[in-house]
Symmetry: D2
Subunit: 340 residues, 4 copies
């Protein structure tokens, strides 16, 4: 079986990463590549690392160009997916790397993104409780945000097992590619290198309600999430430090994490004493996790690392595609990082 | 008045930064420079940025070499200062950039550093409540650790004003120079660049009891500190994100911070809407702070940035020297960073 | 004597660096700060490292705002200085950090920059033969380009002494701040970090004729310059590797360099066996040089390092101001870098 | 057909990259993993990115452990391969990632490496004239050095076609992983980040005679190579700028390069106007090249980019293995980089 896949937003970072992975997927044929302002130019001008596709010319992002494919990846700015998706046939698998269809709560959408909500789609994080079932046979999938992916996986086992209080603190440090190719002064290399900064502090970051939604689902009750993102000088990678008060002793913590992920191909609880690094997951679909207890505070500390563009975006999209189409879940994906 | 200053450990990062600042201090004459394994070699081989001192030859670190100075900076590995200091005359101002004399509690010393405690000295963080008075006329000063400096300044006003609960969460991201010039695999450039990592998780980092000591002094009661340090790919700078539950509404928060630091020459509460970056304080003695309230959680979030080698180490040493000797506190120090 | 200085283009990198240096200059009072698109906003929004000036509001760049000063620094895009300068009084010292007045040859101007040439001004590189004399008492000064500064100083002694052939090869690696704050995709942090690239290859870079002009002046005959700039992932610093065939043996090389710079406060020929690094000159006005001979090829290799924003731009501007006004040449400038 | 491969030196950078590629090679089964000082520990402690092999324990590097494999990769310090290889059966394919068997000239070996020469092996750069034939059926292969790979490919077509003079200038900028995991002060992250430096200047770098050997073979006469390596702050990647005087006009240059590499799967001459970047080849086996002529100097400028660990070391090793064993040359290798 060969699946024909179109990528809308092929000149951006999410689209480029999707293409990098799809080029290595044995069951995929890459179809239309589209863009907004870059339509008409060769992909090689924007993605020089995708040599086999360098001469492909970008089409305009329209339903007509996209519709005759088995799968359409939408890697568009937030708010642009719903209108396109509505014009694609129901039997086309549409995978939205943007935020449009992640949140269940229209009020939350309006508060953090603004405007009318396009409705939630099956959520592409199969490692959450019940997550995989929702994707089997799906034809519309919302790819999780990068911060929610690692934060949710780092805390869900403890919440699902009732081991921690429903107030969690997440401070996640990220490379710059999560912000996309937008031309903003604070994203210039001269500003980023040699500097650390924060943004979206105090619950203002749009990923806050998405983390809360995931954790609430895992816990079966509302979870209060204090989320602070930090920008650091590297292109890729997120390291999330997550903590919460234990409800009891910490004896069951490690077993709960080990059990939660024992059959997961991409989520790895490291041996005791080793801690995740983003370099170890660069370009891979793996999540590396470690968990410990602060003995003075009876507080759980869970740390996770992902590549924000791979497992944090495009890898999750491919993984979800595999599940939806009944392909082996790991096809075209790797747990081997590119390091050093 | 000219003060003659010796620097022990002149080939390391703390010693080098001390010399960089002392070269710009109008009242200082630089005396003996000493080292351990690097004794006998020229400073220029180790600190090529200190051009005016490039031909100075490093002596062995001995009391004899150091004693005939007005001030001695000790920038030695932890545990090496006490023995040297004990052999220096009482009227020599000894400023220890190491940890030997920071902690009041011998039990804490033994647990986090090991061995017998050498006793606490006046603590070189004048911006803490009562901190400045303890330094006037002092002849022994313990320079704070880099993480405790920024974390304590970010949380002390809220604790002193009773605005937050006595449980705080600090996640601080640091450049690599805080780890010194030790030849360890994880500090190699190839490992550091492109990666984020954690260490000392779960209360294991030695700066945890020092932060708790400072915050306890500010609050007047014990403070539980959850501290997680993150290593990021930049040479200098610490960005600390600190949070805690508010005891009441957040209305008094900003005023408390503004009042705490209104007369401080080096601690700057930024205007609302601007957030600290480490680039803005590179090479300067400034601390940039911002504080906000998460309205959904009634949680205070305070963020601070320092240069770990300047205000976080050698700048604090010079500032403390100035106070101890009755010089204007800001002499030889700057609030202007080197950016971009 | 206090000199009142205005800075036009205060929100850019060259303007910011000029202000950083001027804040430490004991004879300077900082007057008007102007900008183009950023006029009306506070300097602190653009240059958060310049804390003492954070609340200063940027004025529009007009002759009226600038004229009532002793000195005006122009840190404007290329092509914008001439019109402003023409409307400033003759007795105001105008220092142009842009390229408008560097080239003597109108044809070269037209080829590399385009349009009519505004005419050459005294050139702010006092370390070139005859360079200092041209600046004494000057009221119009053209600050050299960053690449020409280090490349010219690295090769001039050998050319002036007739030790090398008139064909030189310069490959210079630079940080990103030399490109300014322009919002271009290839300058985004995500693109820069982890990558090396070339630009302006084959004589296309605008600094090529400026290097040739300087070297021709030193040699007393035309010099053919092969110049290739490389962009590397760091904010500041240029390392230039320069080579040429020796005309004779290499015995006189070191002596020629030592003699050329023996009285220069900012140009340092390193001891044999040590090589320049850009970290050693970060934020300083120093140039570090080393020179050797490839014994198999009878070829001279000279390597120089500068901070492109300091000695490569704003430091040269301050140094030239000092000379022009009769102040000690090193006032407000340092040979001490900020490292690591 | 499944090939059983052992890797000696599995805890280093070259060995780790070999394993990363071999994990993706469909015809390879990974056998023994050995190390020197790290023998006895788990691979996951040293190579956390190689998740599928994390629990494998490293054996001592001995002939006994290595001999029962179809292929042995030696990723050992220079000078250690010959003794091991001499004790491995003749029909085992031994691929040496070190320098021991690269140079034909014992005098050159003694001068640049020291000691007795172990003799040259077939050279693993199939894209050089005649290079592929030498590898078919070989059972001993010397993997080229990283700098020689990109420098030779960038200049060979012009030399083979007689288009340039026999004196070439190569300045190549490299990331830090080429220096390996050696614990040297100048390789610490704090020293590397934010800095550019040179080393091995004036013909002192060991890759100089290897480049000359390759270019001499391509040209059919001796070539004088001026080679200067520059260290830049990134983990991986080499960008080489190479230049030489044209013997005639430059009209034939592009055609010569296009023809030389038209059938090569890994060497890509970019379309005119695009220039290589190291980010575009990160983790891939591709070489990106561009060539132009400086019209004022009649000088050829060729620029190439490779990942020093992939095409520059371990990718070349896998490519050579494929050729030697009669597998399709591109098996297990990619031309798709990991960017941004």
């Amino acid at each position: 079986m060969t699946v024909r896949v179109a990528v809308a937003g092929a000149s951006g970072y999410a689209g480029g990463e999707a293409l990098r992975l799809l080029l290595g997927h044995p069951d995929v044929e890459i179809g239309a590549l589209t863009a907004g302002g870059n339509a008409g130019s060769a992909l090689g001008e924007h993605q020089p690392h995708l040599l086999p596709l360098a001469d492909r010319v970008l089409a305009e992002t329209t339903p007509e160009v996209l519709k005759d494919h088995d799968v359409v990846f939408l890697a568009l700015p937030h708010g642009h997916s719903a209108a396109i998706a509505a014009q694609l046939p129901d039997d086309v698998l549409v995978i939205d790397c943007g935020a449009d269809h992640r949140l269940n709560d229209p009020t939350a959408w309006d508060r953090w993104y603004g405007g009318e909500h396009a409705g939630a789609w099956p959520y592409g994080l199969p490692e959450l409780p019940g997550g995989r079932d929702a994707l089997v046979g799906a034809r519309r999938i919302a790819v999780p945000g990068c911060y929610p992916t690692v934060s949710s996986l780092a805390l869900a086992p403890a919440l699902a097992a009732g081991l921690i209080d429903p107030e969690v603190v997440v401070v996640a440090v990220s490379g710059t590619s999560g912000a996309g190719k937008a031309l903003k002064p604070h994203l210039l290399g001269s500003e980023v290198m040699g500097s650390l900064s924060v943004y979206g502090v105090g619950g203002a970051h749009r990923h806050t309600p998405e983390i809360a939604q995931n954790l609430g689902r895992a816990a079966g009750r509302p979870i209060a999430v204090s989320f602070t993102p930090v920008l650091a000088p590297l292109p890729r990678g997120i390291l999330a430090t997550c903590s919460a008060q234990l409800t009891g002793g910490g004896d069951e913590v490690r077993a709960a994490y080990a059990k939660a992920y024992e059959h997961e191909p991409f989520v790895h609880l490291l041996p005791e004493g080793r801690w995740p690094t983003t370099a170890a997951v660069l370009g891979s679909n793996a999540v590396q996790l470690q968990v410990t207890v602060d003995p003075d505070l009876d507080r759980l500390i869970a740390v996770g690392a992902v590549d924000n563009l791979t497992k944090g975006t495009a890898g999750a999209a491919v993984q979800s595609m595999n599940i939806a189409l009944g392909l082996p879940e790991t096809t075209g994906l790797s747990t081997v990082g590119v390091a050093p």
